[in-house]
């Protein structure tokens, strides 16, 4: 018997088991490799407006910005472009979106926009997410407001709607 064969397990059953492992291992390794790679490069970071201001998000990097739609800033133009500001009442990020806004997008309401900053510092939103439920505000937005000291339990919509609230 040649040396490589001698290294294989003796029983047929064990050899087959080894084969299954030999097939499964590359698939799992591939999956783990892809996942680790994607975790590093494809995870989308979330910033509040103040954080975005201080941390200088590099232009072109896909991020999420969350806050309130600043009242009085929503401008719709004839080509379907919508300009608005996302604010935490300390800093405001100017944003630009071309497309159908969610039905619950409103001034003063919580909003999360996903997109990239351009070189001029304007946030080019690819997607705008607003809650389906008008009583509810995205958790990240609440945290961002708390961070900037602008969260008021009474003024802002409650994060968790009490059952008798409505």
């Amino acid at each position: 018997m040649s040396l490589p064969m001698a290294l294989l397990p003796k029983s047929r059953k064990a050899r087959r088991r080894l084969l299954v492992v030999a097939v499964a291992a590359p698939i799992l390794a591939l999956a783990v490799g892809l996942t680790l790679y994607a975790m590093r490069d494809a995870v989308i970071f979330f910033y509040g407006p103040s954080q975005a201001e201080t941390e200088h998000v590099p232009p072109g990097r896909l991020v999420r910005i969350g806050g309130l739609v600043a009242p009085g800033t929503v401008i719709r133009s004839a080509d379907g472009m919508v300009r608005f500001s996302i604010t935490d009442n300390v800093h405001a990020v100017p944003a630009l979106y071309r497309g159908q806004l969610p039905d619950l997008f409103r001034e003063g309401q919580g909003v999360v926009a996903q997109g990239v900053f351009d070189d001029a510092g304007v946030f080019q939103a690819h997607e705008v997410l607003a809650k389906h439920d008008e009583k509810y505000m995205p958790k990240e937005v609440v945290d961002a407001l708390k961070k900037s000291g602008q969260w008021r339990e009474t003024a802002a919509p409650a994060q968790a709607p009490a059952k008798s609230a409505s």
């Binding site: 719709r76 619950l104 008008e134």
Partner: protein, 669 residues
């Protein structure tokens, strides 16, 4: 009064479910058919009781009984009857009640259609189903009662979220829940088999129809949701890798893996432990999905009726159920026989490979979905989300390899397959797939390399599925009459598999084509003005005010032209719901052009030139979008056809000998 009856029926259902679990367990322990029969009776009773509770809630909604808190919060007197009825599952409480209804419903189905199960296995399955029912009905009764009264009923209710006032809402949640909860049956069968310590080919044959049923329902449910999201712009289109979407996709992937591994267990008596493991995983992922959706722990575009305060209790229930099941698995799985041998190049080898890829892909989706939560626990000040780019790098390549391998599976024989022969039978399909992609390359612009690869893959799946039919019927080799005879003689299971694989191909074609070559344009138009999208010209003919049930609307009339010829008129609407704090909803209008959609939405009014009022019109061209939804429907249809296979009839798994004996007994009076 009726609401109190509903609340009472729900408590009765809780008691009956507890009796169902206890009596079935006692019946199994004492080998007593009487006790076991009583347990089964309790299971049917529990279903009837939950049904009564459900009808009581529906009655409160239809009569607009605002003394019931849930009704006052989710319906108004002015809503159409249709949305009063569907409002029953528009809230957290109501949707959990629907979950309980489906859960006890499946419990009842086991009792009615499980006559062919071995007595002990059936008792333990009914018992497990009873335990699940106790946990979920208990949660409904004590933490999420839909029948709570208001001391001071309001004169008018709070409307059902206007976004939910859509025809699809009537069928999307019920189908989805039948899928989610349908996996409870395979879960219970798995637990029962572990307790019995015996899993054999017959067990796999009992599992398959239930897994097929649940998976087909789930496929339709997800497709309906995807279609709803597609025609409601602003939800990220038909698929966004949103946590709520992933929550339904994970059990779907696990269910697909289970369908295939159960075939191997049934035909070859191997992969036994793995099949049981998948049966447990599928329902665990369903419960996890329910928790993610209902608790709102992850920011989603589809978060309806979430309630973070009660999420913890749901999480505890999920942990209890699957924790117990997997502990049992760890303890008993070693006892299961049937980890036997198989050749790597064979039908079972191909199915094992399919399972490896499907479950790995499912794991990447799970990781991507939970990663923001895990990271948040470690670094709370730095929230992240995981979106399409992550899945494009992980799930997509894994799935692409899986799909590349799909046509080989059915071409390989059981036990010992011949890869070369399979490849010889498939080269025509491969050539046609490449040709198909090249034709698109010649016609569609701009060029996108990855899209051609995707299209070739879609064509490969379709032609691969057809090649299997050609092979099975010996088309082109045998006389046409014989081919036709063979076609008629194909088992339904084979038809089902072919159709499902064909459906995957159709879906891939649609998904690739739509995402690569979609177009959009938006412009403010005054009446009489036109705009273009793709090859179409759209003219705004009029905008009129129209009132509906609970809303007032601006309805546009838009004519679409192609090459100067009118093709259709579209009527998008912009609705305002005064009772829902003046919320506005945009209702899109779709003009079907073959497999493609011309799709128009009416946006805000703008001051136009002079006195004229202008409206922002958003127009989209979605080529081959129809395939995205037809593909999964074909998959579900394939599942149903397989389900009707005589070999899978609920009553069949008796030995051939016994059947022959029965026939003989019949023949000789």
């Amino acid at each position: 009064m009726i609401a109190e009856l509903g609340a009472f029926a729900l408590m009765l259902a809780l008691a009956l479910s507890a009796a169902q679990a206890a009596l079935s367990a006692a019946g199994r322990l004492r080998h007593s058919p009487a006790l076991q029969g009583a347990g089964e009776g309790a299971a049917l009773g529990a279903f009837i009781a939950v049904l009564l509770a459900f009808l009581a809630l529906m009655d409160a909604f239809v009569r607009s009984d605002f003394s019931v808190a849930n009704v006052a919060q989710n319906s108004t007197t002015t809503e159409a009857l249709f949305y009063k009825v569907t409002g029953v599952w528009g809230s957290h409480e109501g949707s959990v009640l629907l979950w309980c209804l489906v859960l006890t419903g499946f419990g009842g189905l086991i009792v009615l259609f499980g006559d062919n199960l071995p007595r002990g296995l059936k008792a333990l399955t009914v018992m497990t189903q009873g335990v699940l029912a106790v946990l979920f009905i208990g949660y409904t009764v004590f933490a999420s009662s839909p029948f709570a009264r208001l001391a001071d009923p309001p004169a008018e209710g709070n409307p059902l979220n206007p976004i939910l006032q859509d025809p699809t809402f009537a069928i999307h949640p019920p189908f989805l829940y039948c899928g989610y909860v349908g996996f409870s049956v395979v879960f219970s069968l798995g637990v029962a088999a572990l307790i019995e310590g015996k899993v054999d080919a017959a067990w796999a044959r009992w599992v398959r129809p239930w897994a097929l049923t649940a998976w087909s329902f789930l496929t339709v449910g997800i497709t309906l949701g995807s279609f709803w999201s597609y025609y409601t712009q602003g939800w990220g289109g038909w698929w966004f890798w949103d946590p709520v979407e992933n929550a339904s996709f994970m059990p779907w992937l696990a269910g697909a893996a289970l369908l295939h591994s159960a075939i191997v267990t049934e035909k070859r008596g191997i992969l036994v432990g793995w099949t049981v493991f998948l049966a447990l995983i599928a329902f665990t992922l369903s419960m996890l999905g329910t928790f993610l959706v209902r608790s709102g722990v992850l920011t989603s575009v589809h978060a309806f009726a979430v309630d973070p305060t009660r999420g913890t209790i749901l999480l505890i229930i999920v942990a209890l159920c699957s924790g117990a099941a997997f502990s049992l698995f760890a303890w008993r799985a070693g006892k299961l026989t049937g980890g036997g041998l198989f050749a790597p190049i064979s039908r079972e080898g191909a199915l094992v490979l399919n399972n490896l890829f499907l479950s790995t892909a499912c794991a990447t989706v799970l990781l991507g979905t939970l990663f923001p939560l895990i990271r948040q626990a470690l670094t709370p000040n730095d929230p992240v989300s995981v979106g399409p780019p992550f899945y494009a790098l992980t799930f997509m390549p894994l799935m692409a390899i899986t799909l590349l391998l799909v046509p080989f599976g059915p071409m390989l024989a059981w036990k010992r397959g011949d890869l070369l022969a399979a490849a010889q039978r498939l080269w025509v399909a491969a050539a046609l797939a490449v040709a198909g992609a090249l034709i698109v390359l010649a016609l569609a612009r701009p060029a996108q390399v990855l899209s051609y690869v995707g299209l070739a893959l879609g064509f490969w799946l379709i032609f691969g599925a057809l090649a299997e039919l050609v092979e099975r019927t010996r088309l082109f080799r045998a006389p046409a009459a014989e081919s036709l005879r063979r076609l008629g003689g194909l088992p339904r299971g084979a038809w089902g598999a072919t159709l499902a694989h064909l459906g995957v191909g159709v879906f891939v074609l649609g998904a690739c084509f739509e995402s690569t070559w979609k177009l959009d344009n938006s412009q403010a138009l005054t009446v009489g003005q036109s705009m273009t999208v793709g090859a179409y010209t759209l003219r705004l003919d009029s905008v009129t005010a129209q009132d509906g049930a609970g809303f007032s609307a601006d309805r546009a009339a838009i004519s679409a032209f192609r090459d100067g010829r009118p093709v259709c008129t579209l009527a998008p609407e912009r609705r305002t719901y005064p009772l829902a704090a003046g919320q506005t909803i945009s209702k899109k209008s779709i003009c079907i052009r073959g497999a493609s959609d011309l799709y128009v939405g009416l946006d805000d009014a703008l001051p136009g030139t002079g006195d004229a009022q202008a409206w922002v019109v958003r127009a989209y061209w979605y080529p081959w979008a129809r395939f995205i939804f037809i593909g999964p429907i074909l998959m579900a249809f394939g599942g149903l056809i397989s389900l009707s296979d005589r070999r899978l009839r609920f009553s069949l798994p008796q030995s051939a000998k016994a059947r022959v004996g029965a026939l003989k007994a019949k023949a000789t009076p």
